[in-house]
């Protein structure tokens, strides 16, 4: 059969052109300027080589931001996957209200990070927030805390909101994966007298590897690129404890240092590519 005829190349044109014109060109144009002193105040642009990158990698304040970003990405990824997987197992079958609950758990994915951020800011409030109100109510008043204001808990508090927001997406991908597992395997395992744990370990998990791969990669990318939520919740504070790459990029961009900000953007881009690619490589190996 003639592939060129039944799958014509012009089908790809519309998204390709939009993607090139409105995403790739602006994105790479920006990245290319990371080797210049391009800024908002001065009309002249000078090529300055890798000066920005030297500045970034020799300054421990920026290294700290990279570390924060990694912590955020790793912790959100692990928890979203573990909790999401657990929820998927629980809601896969044999549960009357499962459809309703699935719908509920996926819902936060639909909400604007702007709204989520604003509401959780008040939920975390030390004086009026729901969390501290609740703790006092059940007699754990001693545990009330300035969740977003304390440097020890701030990053954790932000991570918790991100997990709340996106755990449903992981759950749904895992449910989809679970449903692709044929009942024959599970029945065979039952006949062999496998325990619940053994079934999970030797039958379910190996078949779930593609779903796990996808979830790991999507979560890591989302984690490394996080912006909206941190921007609204803490804007990097207190004392830079929740500062991540994208908030710094935004701040530098805001101060008018466009070249410097895109240098940070380039680092994030390369970094994310490396992480996503290595995970993909490692997981495909595992799958084989």
């Amino acid at each position: 059969m003639n592939h060129k005829k039944i799958y014509p190349s012009y089908f790809t044109l519309l998204p390709l052109i939009l993607y090139l014109a409105f995403f790739i060109i602006p994105s790479f144009m920006g990245l290319a300027l990371s080797f210049t002193d391009w800024n908002a105040v001065n009309d002249e642009i000078h090529f300055i080589g890798i000066d920005h990158f030297i500045d970034i990698f020799t300054n421990k304040r920026y290294i700290l931001v990279i570390v924060n970003t990694l912590i955020f990405a790793v912790f959100t990824t692990v928890f979203k996957n573990v909790i999401g997987f657990g929820m998927a197992l629980a809601l896969n079958k044999g549960f009357k209200t499962r459809n309703f609950l699935r719908t509920v758990f996926f819902f936060p994915v639909m909400l604007s990070p702007l709204i989520i951020g604003l509401v959780f800011k008040s939920i975390y409030n030390p004086e009026y927030g729901v969390i501290n109100d609740f703790l006092s109510l059940i007699g754990l008043g001693g545990f009330t805390h300035d969740w977003l204001g304390d440097t020890k808990t701030a990053l954790g508090a932000v991570i918790a909101v991100e997990i709340w927001r996106l755990v449903g997406q992981n759950m749904v991908i895992y449910i989809a994966g679970l449903q692709a597992i044929s009942d024959d395997y599970l029945e065979a395992a039952d006949i062999d007298g496998a325990s619940g744990w053994q079934k999970l370990r030797y039958v379910i998990l190996p078949q779930m590897l593609p779903s796990i791969t996808i979830n790991l990669i999507l979560n890591l990318i989302a984690g490394l690129k996080v912006f909206d939520l941190v921007f609204v919740l803490t804007n990097g504070g207190p004392a830079r404890k929740t500062e991540v790459l994208n908030t710094v990029i935004y701040k530098e961009y805001g101060s008018g240092r466009y070249g410097f900000s895109t240098a940070l953007g380039l680092i994030m881009f390369v970094f994310t590519c490396i992480v996503a690619f290595s995970v993909l490589k490692a997981m495909t190996k595992e799958e084989e």
Binding site: Y7, F22, M87, T103
Partner: protein, 274 residues
């Protein structure tokens, strides 16, 4: 069923329902505070209003052109959904079916968009070149471009699960390439299409940063930007902000309610090797 099983099941149910309460709490906070007085809403507590101020809603409608903003959001979101979904489906279909090196490369090229950062200044320059600054079309095309990578990612995976034999049979029956896709293949993609529609709609609907850069005319601004109408650095009316939030969330709930049962089937795409 054994007794142990039953207990386990009840515990499981209890835990899950408890979790679902966690999902509802923020929504309830927003709803309750939208009926409070300005003074009472400052603390954004989870408590019933001491006095139900239903007039908050009419006050918002008087102060800002919420209907206009709603229409802007709707036009932009729906158009984005149509362009990105139709384009993404067609494109992924060809990329997935024709496994040449070029097509594989093109697919990977699209995936770069999952990672690459967008820079607003060059983006504005591009829109300018096309004469699209301060137009809804510009915003629509920008959003369409931004959601394209994930759209193609989802479609590509899903189309891989649709057997090629279907195409071949249709061709033998005398279908052209267009009718093959639209009449035979596209209906089979329903679950992933619904997923893509929902995700793209929500992305365009929820964005609260891009419009400030791309739009100049206040009457063309979307709903999310209205949140800012009621709080500035010096004064915030949380009750009115909550009213706006309710208005932003409601359409999302409606879209979601219609499409939710397909979400899981659609996400299957992600679980298939890309």
């Amino acid at each position: 069923m054994t007794k142990k099983h039953k207990i386990m099941k009840t515990v499981k149910a209890a835990v899950l329902w408890l979790f679902s309460v966690l999902v509802f709490i923020p929504l309830i906070i927003i709803l309750l505070n939208s009926f409070k007085t300005q003074g009472e809403s400052v603390s954004m507590r989870l408590s019933l209003p001491t006095e139900w101020v239903f007039s908050n809603y009419s006050q918002v409608m008087e102060q800002v052109d919420i209907f206009g903003a709603f229409m802007n959001s709707l036009v932009v979101s729906v158009s984005t959904v149509i362009i990105a979904t139709v384009g993404g489906a067609l494109c992924s279909y060809v990329l997935s079916r024709r496994k040449t090196r070029l097509h594989r490369g093109l697919y990977l090229f699209f995936l770069v968009g999952l990672v690459a950062p967008l820079n607003m200044v060059p983006a504005i320059l591009v829109l300018q070149k096309f004469g699209l600054m301060d137009t809804r079309i510009g915003l629509i095309l920008l959003y369409s471009a931004l959601v394209t990578p994930f759209t193609i990612f989802l479609y590509y995976g899903f189309i891989g699960t649709v057997p090629r034999e279907i195409d071949e049979a249709a061709i033998i029956d005398g279908c052209g390439c267009n009718s093959l896709f639209w009449r035979v293949v596209f209906p089979l993609l329903k679950p992933v299409t619904v997923t893509v529609v929902i995700l793209n709609f929500m992305n365009a609907w929820n964005d609260f940063i891009t419009p400030f850069y791309v739009m100049n005319t206040s009457t063309k601004m979307p709903m999310t930007t209205m949140v800012y109408s009621f709080f500035g650095q010096f004064q915030r009316s949380w009750n009115l902000v909550c009213v706006i939030m309710v208005m932003i969330i409601t359409p999302i709930i409606i879209v979601y309610a219609f499409g939710q049962k397909y979400i899981i089937a659609g996400m299957t795409a992600g679980a298939v090797k890309g």
